[in-house]
């Protein structure tokens, strides 16, 4: 029985890792190997696929889109952490808002494409950068995660600081911010991944060239040249690697955060 368990685990682990291994391998395939159809025959290493990506000029090419997406999603993440941190503090301080955020948690955002589109038309921010930022200024999930973290901070600590004359600003920046660092990091990574992985939404509300996210850029390239996997894989790898590295750095924190969330 035991060896069957080992076999299952390692087979699944291999299959899960396979697309990543392939992505890393295909990104460095010399272009000649793809066209000759001899992919696994000779091992070659080439950076040609990455050079192709820069061809369209910087800002509208791959690297510009990657930079744009990192800045955009990074900004949105900071915004979500700020609004979430403040809201969690308000709940901790006695504002009866937790049910409100829990109800919002149940609303499926992915399904709201149509009414959100209508709202953006009404606000006249369709096809502007605000369409990619404002709807994500706060997230009920982040509020919930940060509140869970704040619950573990002993009330006596805050009370003692208050007696010493600390106001909201001191409590927030000097006491809670350092104490909640682990939760902020985990929440930040999850918020980043969630915004980074929007596929259809940016395509619909901000389709113009200078607002294209890296996801849209890759999907478009895949549509145009499905057989040209060298550059495709290079783009996929370059767009995935930052997330993989961040994840590996904070993996323990992120998995623990999910486990804590399950205990509810």
């Amino acid at each position: 029985m035991r060896w069957l368990g080992h076999l299952l685990v390692w087979t699944v682990a291999f299959l899960v890792a396979l697309p990543f291994i392939w992505m890393a391998y295909a990104a460095f395939i010399p272009p000649e190997a793809v066209f000759s159809g001899n992919i696994f025959g000779q091992l070659g290493f080439s950076l040609a696929n990455f050079e192709v990506l820069g061809r369209e000029g910087f800002w509208e090419g791959f690297w510009g889109r990657l930079l744009f997406s990192v800045l955009l999603t990074g900004g949105v993440t900071l915004l979500q952490l700020t609004t979430g941190f403040l809201a969690a503090y308000a709940i901790k301080e006695g504002a009866r808002l937790l049910p409100f955020f829990l109800v919002l948690l149940a609303i499926p955002v992915e399904l709201l494409l149509v009414p959100l589109y209508g709202l953006l038309v009404g606000l006249k921010i369709l096809d502007t950068i605000w369409a990619l930022v404002l709807p994500f200024a706060a997230s009920p999930f982040i509020v919930y995660l940060l509140f869970q973290g704040m619950r573990t901070v002993p009330e006596e600590l805050l009370e003692a600081a208050r007696i010493d004359g600390a106001g909201h600003r001191v409590l927030l920046t000097r006491i809670l911010l350092p104490l909640l660092r682990p939760q902020l990091i985990a929440a930040g990574v999850l918020a980043f991944a969630a915004h980074w992985n929007l596929v259809l939404y940016p395509r619909i509300v901000a389709g113009s060239k200078e607002l294209k996210t890296v996801q849209t850029w890759i999907t478009d390239l895949q549509r145009q040249n499905p057989a040209d996997w060298g550059p495709l894989s290079a783009a996929a790898l370059a767009a995935t690697l930052p997330l993989v590295i961040i994840y590996l750095l904070y993996e323990r924190r992120i998995v623990e955060t999910f486990e804590e969330g399950l205990k509810g």
């Binding site: 392939w22 159809g37 809201a87 894989s233």
Partner: protein, 277 residues
Amino acid sequence: MGRNNAFWFALPAVASLGLFLLYPFLDVLRFSTWDWSGLSEPRVVGLENYRDILRDPDFYNSLRITLIFGVMTLIPFVVLSILLALALDGQPYERPIKALLFLPGLVTLGGAAVAWYTLFSPEYGALASLIPVPRWDQSPFWALVLIMLFTIWRHIGYGVLVVSARLKAIPKALLEAAAVDGATPAQSFRFITLPLLRPAITFLVVIGTVLTLQGYTAVFLLTRGGPFGGTEVLGYYLYKTGFEAGRLGYAAALTVIILLLTLAFALAQARLLREEK
């Protein structure tokens, strides 16, 4: 103490979520009574959209595909989550494997889709040069299998985590007592572990149903509803009618129907799985 004014710190989050989440969620009802392309002036048509959907063969086809896809995905997903959680429990490699299984859910979706596409495409794929790959570009069944595998690939880490968290909460003394009383491992699994895992399984089934009823991103990235509309799940049909055919009012009514379906399914399942004791 100055506690009352702390309420104001929640204002940015409350205002932004109210405007961009709660309001659209309620507003979808209003849009669903419109005939509107997004560019044109909206025309109020009452419940006409709903009537049209109930007569729309494409809607029923899409519903059928979604249900097939749901059953096809959920059963292996839940079974695999349980088996992996059991096999991993207490092993020295438990942590790194869990970390690996979790990774696909976080990485760039578009990039992941490219890796899958270049690997598994029967025409251009790398695997096709080694072994025969089923023609999922021609067979709706194999296309659904591909979407299923991609979906399980992305979410298996979460499934294992849910079962595993529950598994660790089962007191070891219980299983030891059963072993002392002469229960075989299979018996103690059947009569102790499995019943105690029920809350986790219920949770996975309900969450999984919600996700399959509403998901469409994998379909968009890998098959675009094809071949021959064979993978046109409800979420994708919603996207297509709304933003490719430009019938936003109709798509809004579809949204309402999908939401109601989700609610009905989730409630029925939660009740069924709880009472079946």
